[in-house]
Symmetry: C2
Subunit: 235 residues, 2 copies
DNA sequence: CGCGCGATTGATTCGGCTCAATAACTGTGG
DNA sequence: CCACAGTTATTGAGCCGAATCAATCGCGCG
């Protein structure tokens, strides 16, 4: 399945400056290059699975990844996404708990792997890296607390509108204002926390109201402000 | 409202060894004692409010605190609780975002306040403290991801059973196997993410099934294993 | 002892889930 | 390049959990 490939160099990684590794010096980057490895995962392939213990940190070099959790009846719940420059698996290593989520490639992706030893050595020796990681985990909490509140209090229509805006923030829009990621209706449903059929009906509803346009998996955001209003207020 | 009181000493704080401060040496503890302050908040009083920026870290010395967030229509959603030894407000400081939650004393509480400067100085100079904080924020994520999945997928009855077990884990049981915290039905509802009336009906349901006993605000857990089964499986 | 908020119960409504049937689409091999 | 098989998307009907609204009860507190 996954295929080992030559390491891309951290120093020339376009995403480094937006990542937790932004503060590393060239010496640290060279060490990282020596210790890490890199694999290609094809679309749909699992990078790691919830419940297991990771031996290191995963960092997305290229591609899009969904992080999801399997609920009581085997139903998937998407927790977040990762794209180039994002790291995964750190929560599990830091808390010494099994991985809370499964990571799956949404498209062919190249993922670097940094052994735990190297990760902890950075944490111990570089306070700036520690602070970056703390900032990252703290932001996660901020996002999670909002999601939790929304999930508990908002209607599925509001949540869908919100998720569309979230996808826009995460992946951006292409030249046609379409959300730049391909997700199945089922995957959207497991973000919103509802049934696939409901997503289809709600999307078609939003289209009818002129807030979005649909063309297969492509979702064009027509009225972003309208979506935001819908997500906040009721109906 | 809140009343400044003489600082309790960190070194003699019964909760220190279970807290993020467990690794501090006596010198660091003395410095902490000098920098911090301590206030008494009475039941129902707000310790801090979501949306504002904290000037430091809050640490519960005595008492129980709920951390909640106000949703779109002013409805409260309880995110977590804090008790002696727990710290609050760090996510906001670390991510430089406004506080995501409001902290309210559930009973008269004594809360220490550690100025941001001192907090960041500890983070910078003591890698063990950084690691403790990282472990804490990472565990938060683990909990939040489970809550999120449950909120999205489980029935309100299952969530209620789960919350009762969660309260047991957090606050423990008294000599009568009653959950050792007093919450209104409304507060329970804003944990579970449902309406007050629903909580009442569901609690009475659990009582009928012999899983719990009720006596006013006191909730006695009769069949913990049964509750756990209910929380996991369907109905 | 009475007031008022929190708790409880009942009736009704509605959103959203489930089940079922069809249609559109994707990739695969002939 | 087309036919086929297996998904994935869509639509419809019916049902159920849970929210809402309304009324009463009971307990704690002043």
């Amino acid at each position: 399945m996954s295929k080992r490939v030559p390491n891309p160099k951290c120093a020339s990684c376009g995403s480094r400056h937006k990542s937790v590794f932004c503060s590393l010096n060239s010496e640290q980057l060279i060490e990282l290059d020596e210790e890490k490895s890199c694999d290609i995962y094809s679309k749909g392939e699992a990078i790691f699975k919830e419940g297991s213990y990771p031996r290191g940190l995963f960092c997305v070099n290229k591609g899009k990844v969904k992080l999801s959790r399997t609920g009581a009846e085997g139903k998937e719940q998407i927790l977040r996404f990762a794209k180039a420059g994002d790291v995964m698996g750190y929560n599990s290593m830091l808390s010494n708990k099994p991985l809370a989520a499964t990571a799956t490639a949404l498209e062919d992706a190249s993922i670097c792997f940094i052994p735990a030893k190297e990760f902890f050595s950075l944490l111990k020796d570089d306070p700036r890296f520690s602070l970056n990681m703390l900032e990252l985990t703290a932001k996660n909490w901020h996002t999670a607390s909002r999601l939790l509140t929304d999930m508990a209090q908002k209607s599925s229509k509001q949540r869908l509108a919100e998720m569309l805006l979230w996808l826009k923030e995460t992946f951006g829009l292409d030249e046609d204002d379409c959300i730049d990621v391909k997700l199945s209706r089922e995957e959207i449903a497991s973000m919103v926390g509802t049934a696939t059929e409901a997503v289809i009906r709600l999307l078609s509803d939003l289209k009818k109201k002129g807030l979005i346009h649909l063309d297969g998996k492509k979702i064009q955001l027509v009225d972003i402000h309208g979506l935001a209003t819908l997500a906040e207020l009721n109906d």
